[in-house]
């Protein structure tokens, strides 16, 4: 029994997503496929202890799940169910390896007809086998609400029949961007530096999966590179619960192998000569790391990269990042000018905008205005360590 359970658990850990993708791909009915697969695992635990663990447990599970899901393949002369299973296993050509349907599954999860906020949860459930409760925790919602929304999304996929295929060349770049954005959203979800890594490991797993399944896509490599750069620096971001900004981090704590892998991936991506958002963001991280490791970096590199990024994607985070880069290259006044151009109701509730503004105002010898900006930044921060850091800087301003 132990052997059977261990094998089943091992397969579940390693191959759940792969199996689900194959079972679901034919009918696009993910919920029914999940049920069929769960059923197959249950049967495995019932029959393997007596009939022995099959030589190819994944194939066994796939066959049983497909049968339950309605793919009955009739073989002449097959009698009993047990004999049928064995015969099918022998018939399965060894080269029909588990051609990875997970890429199709990822594309369907990020299909334009799926609400943006549900793409990441769908991926986590279908490819990684997460239950609704665990996903809900990472997205600040209740398990019941998340479960309901996941059901609705899967019903939509089935009833409206979303195309369950890797998109054709004409649409691939756009559709892939949606997949990558959903994976990146997982990277940031549930992140709390002081507790655990949230979903960072899972996001990196998905990033590696896409890079493996779509090795000719520069942006996939770019996303993985970006996540690895950030992950490499994680150990240095806190010291005894205290927030340490990038410029003050102990680079000896950075995870060197991860950093080197990120660099290699970025180089490989660059070889394709295709511009992309994630490659550019990874390049920005590369420059930050260079600065930390060598003490210097080409002075305008960050500005150039942010200009590139802003031209493609002028969202708040990018514009504030650009202002920071401008201030580093051309002085605080230039940074403040750039921030002024970002003004507006959205910026008003964007914490990094106020944190940077306070920093630049302090550098321009405007402590009163800096104090006000940092007060706002603290009010908008949801991380107590960040609040404490800003408080300390505010306390350090002249003229309390």
């Amino acid at each position: 029994m132990d052997d059977a359970r261990q094998t089943a658990e091992g397969v579940a850990r390693v191959a759940y997503g792969r199996l689900l993708a194959r079972v679901a791909a034919r009918t696009c009915d993910i919920a029914a496929a999940e049920d069929a697969l769960a059923d197959a695992f249950r049967r495995a635990l019932e029959t393997w202890p007596t009939s022995g663990v099959p030589q190819r447990p994944e194939a066994w599970l796939l066959t049983v799940a497909r049968r339950a899901h309605g793919h009955v393949r009739r073989h002449a002369g097959v009698q009993a169910a047990a004999a049928a299973t064995l015969a099918i296993l022998q018939d399965t050509p060894p080269t029909d390896a588990f051609a990875d349907a997970r890429l199709k599954l990822l594309f369907v999860c990020a299909h334009p007809a799926i609400d943006v906020s549900m793409r990441t949860p769908l991926m986590l459930q279908t490819v990684l086998g997460f239950d609704a409760a665990r996903i809900a925790g990472a997205f600040a919602t209740t398990p019941a609400a998340m479960a309901q929304r996941l059901v609705r999304a899967k019903v939509k996929i089935r009833d409206a029949r979303l195309r369950f295929e890797v998109p054709d060349a004409a649409n691939l770049a756009d559709r892939l961007e949606a997949v990558l954005a959903a994976i990146y959203a997982a990277y940031g979800a549930g992140w709390d530096d002081s507790l655990d890594t949230g979903l960072a490991d899972e996001a990196i797993f998905l990033g590696r999966l896409v890079s493996k399944l779509a090795p000719d896509q520069a942006e996939a490599l770019g996303l993985l590179s970006l996540m690895l750069y950030c992950e490499a620096r994680r150990p240095a971001r806190r010291r005894d619960g205290v927030y340490i900004p990038l410029a003050e981090q102990d680079v000896a704590l950075w995870r060197r192998p991860m950093f080197l892998e990120a660099e290699a991936l970025l180089r490989r991506a660059a070889d394709f000569g295709v511009f992309g958002r994630f490659q550019t963001e990874a390049a920005i991280q590369s420059v930050h790391c260079q600065q930390g490791l060598t003490g210097s970096s080409p002075p305008d590199a960050l500005v150039t990269l942010y200009e590139l990024l802003a031209g493609h994607r002028p969202v708040l985070g990018v514009l504030v990042g650009r202002a920071a880069a401008l201030s580093a290259a051309q002085g605080a006044a230039a940074g403040l000018q750039a921030l002024d151009r970002v003004e507006g109701p959205e910026a008003d509730s964007y914490q990094p905008y106020w944190a940077l503004k306070g920093h630049l105002l302090a550098q321009c010898n405007r402590p009163g205005d800096a104090r006000d900006a940092w007060t706002l930044a603290m009010g908008l921060a949801d991380d107590p360590a960040v609040r404490a850091y800003l408080q300390a800087r505010q306390d350090g301003l002249p003229g309390a």
Binding site: P112, A113, D159, A160, R161, L162, R163
Partner: protein
């Protein structure tokens, strides 16, 4: 599989139908779109509709008829026509929907058609 395309239009587009200057372009665009779908063999059924000012809405509550002049929702985009098309999947249906002349100014809702009830 069959999908219904609910084609909405803006007030300005409805006005083009009878406008001497705009009408030829307006109808030309729709005729071209319908011809393309017809050529591809995807049309199951479809019709243009008279404008929302000709609509009447009726509700029956507690056995009483409540009749109202106008469409059921007072929105900027109003139903101007519909098509039921045959498509392999939603992606293919969206491809056709995106080519509707009104998609550039209003919106097209695409919904799968229920199979007929079992006999």
């Amino acid at each position: 599989m069959q999908y219904m395309l609910f084609l909405t239009e803006t007030e300005a587009q409805f006005a083009e139908r009878d406008d001497a200057d705009a009408a030829p372009t307006y109808w030309g665009a729709w005729n071209a779109y319908i011809a393309a779908m017809s050529q591809a063999g995807v049309i199951v059924s479809g019709n243009g509709l008279h404008g929302p000012q000709t609509a009447t809405t009726i509700r029956v509550r507690d056995g009483k008829r409540e009749v109202q002049d106008g469409p059921y929702a007072d929105t900027k985009e109003q139903l101007g026509g519909y098509f039921v098309i045959e498509a392999a999947d939603l992606d293919a249906a969206l491809e056709w929907a995106s080519r509707a002349p009104s998609a550039a100014y209003a919106s097209v809702e695409v919904r799968p058609v229920l199979p007929p009830p079992a006999a």
